[in-house]
Amino acid sequence: MFLKVENATTRFGGLVANDNVNIEVSKGEIVGLIGPNGAGKSTMFKSINGFNRLSSGEIYFKNKRITKMETYKICKMGITCTFQHAQLFQGITLEESVLLGAYNRRKTKKEALKFAHQMIDFVGLSDKKDYRVSKLNMFERKKAELAAAMATEPELLLLDELFAGLVPTEVDSFVELVRKVNKQLGISILIVEHVLKAIMSLSNKVYVLEYGKIIAHGSPAEVTTNPTVIKAYLGGDYDADVS
């Protein structure tokens, strides 16, 4: 049992953002989490990361309970996330931003810097490492954020709408990059995405959320032909005749 979310429920006052959600991720897998806007995907991510507290339910990572742990400790355990709006650290250089991630598992500056350079190389930004993050474009910022997250040496990466705001050709090259992260570094990935084409080609398994509940899960092919999912995405009036 690598990552297991068990009956997770999150309430904000009267609003139930996540209702009895069960998610399982095995080691080495890429798992997608999709759903319409406001379905509770980001809330789920924040709960796994420790930014939110679950109202009830448990989260286990490598057989350890991480439900009420602090975010930085969860990161030390091996789960790192990227944020929906790539912000990174605007005022410092790309190199130092990634360096912060590298300090997660490395004590001395020399080692950390070396590893940070490796990660910047990995995403292909080594010629921009002395640039301030605020001077990078959206595509480079997203890559930078991925590099910083990978520098923490996670075993599980949570990618929150990584492809949002990118043009289709950039999405394609990013999909390749994410696949490379998974294959070469052996990092498991849980990914929230609106760009369905990308997520369907990447994932081994997909969960669909609607109104805080998991309405379907299975392989991409299974999920896309599921009438409930089509209804959730396109509305009830659509004739869900998928024969």
Binding site: E70, Y72, Q87, L88, F89, L100, Y103, D130, T152
Partner: protein, 327 residues
């Protein structure tokens, strides 16, 4: 060692440094008491500025009452020497200990609250200490203050060199922290605490640590001020000092090691204007530097340091890379 020197000091920098050193050593040789006094105060503000810069410029915790740490350093020394009969070192350590207590409280608040709430809680603590220093005559000496033993009176020249060493040490210390693991974490904390947390940085811990380090630096400046004034006075806690510390850094450039060094031009200007004006107009000097500040804020919002900075993106990087390519 040679590598480090080559890395940080280009020939141009080295020449500038030597000129600066020459001027700094030349000042006490002038035998001008007034100039020397201004220089001592200005150098003290470099130390205080670096202390504030570390907490607010680097770590992003806006401390509006930095005089709290400064004043506790002063009171520690006077109280230790006058009431408890401590040695000089002992009383400096007493000031440091008092600061550690205050910084622990402030830092603890900092881990729970952030932004404006931190500032408000800080004001509360400062006001308590300020009032205490005025009201408890038997302990703090009230508004009369506690005087220090006569034999500890130092010559202005000695004080000048102590202030100089402290200012240089604080600048080196600031830069050392900035380049270390701590500095990266502090800056991340300022830029985006949530992301820093997600990348494994213990933000509460670093907030706490930043407060403690900053308080200790200010404490040394405060202890020095006790030897300069030879007495204490509740005014060391006053808002004017806090304001000046903040101004020194903002005028110079926040989050940069040379910020406070450039910013003390503001303190020097203030003192010089006061000296030049007829005595009944002296308080009006505030108006002049008030205007100077407004103009500064409009023309150079990033502080005086922005005059010296190259355009960050292209020039700097291109120059660096071409240097690497040739090397």
């Amino acid at each position: 060692m040679k590598g480090i020197i080559q890395k940080y000091f280009s020939t141009k920098r080295l020449i500038l440094l030597i000129i600066a050193m020459a001027i700094l050593i030349f000042i006490p040789a002038l035998e001008n008491r007034r100039l020397l006094n201004i220089a001592i105060i200005a150098l003290m503000y470099v130390t205080l500025g670096e202390s504030w810069n570390l907490l607010s410029g680097m770590s992003g915790l806006f401390s509006i009452n930095h005089a709290l740490f400064f004043g506790l350093g002063t009171y520690g020394v006077t109280f230790g020497l006058n009431k408890l009969g401590f040695s000089v070192l002992g009383s400096i350590l007493l000031g440091l200990a008092m600061n550690l207590v205050a910084a622990t409280i402030v830092g603890y608040i900092g881990t729970k609250l952030s932004g404006l709430y931190f500032t408000m809680a800080f004001i509360g603590l400062w006001q308590t200490v300020y009032t205490f220093s005025y009201q408890f005559f038997s302990i703090t000496g009230g508004s009369l203050g506690l005087s220090m033993p006569r034999e500890l009176l130092l010559s202005k020249r000695t004080l000048y060199f102590i202030a100089l060493i402290m200012a240089i040490a604080s600048m080196i210390f600031y830069q050392f922290i900035r380049r270390s693991r701590l500095g990266t974490n502090f800056v991340a904390l300022k830029e985006n605490p949530d992301l820093a947390n997600a990348l494994g940085s213990n933000i509460r811990g670093y907030r706490f640590l930043s407060t403690i380090i900053s308080a200790c630096m200010a404490s040394f400046a405060g202890s020095f001020y006790a030897f300069y004034m030879m007495t204490n006075n509740p005014e060391v806690f006053s808002g004017i000092i806090s304001l000046k510390i903040i101004m020194v850094v903002i005028v110079g450039g926040m989050g940069h090691v040379f910020g406070p060094l450039l910013g003390i031009s503001f303190v020097i200007m203030d003192e010089l204007i006061r000296g030049m004006m007829p005595s009944q107009f002296a308080p009006f000097s505030v108006i002049i530097y008030g205007f100077a500040l407004i103009i500064m804020a409009m023309v150079k919002p990033e502080g005086l340091i922005s005059i010296f900075k190259k355009k960050p993106k292209d020039n700097g990087v291109a120059a660096k890379q071409s240097k690497k390519a040739t090397a």
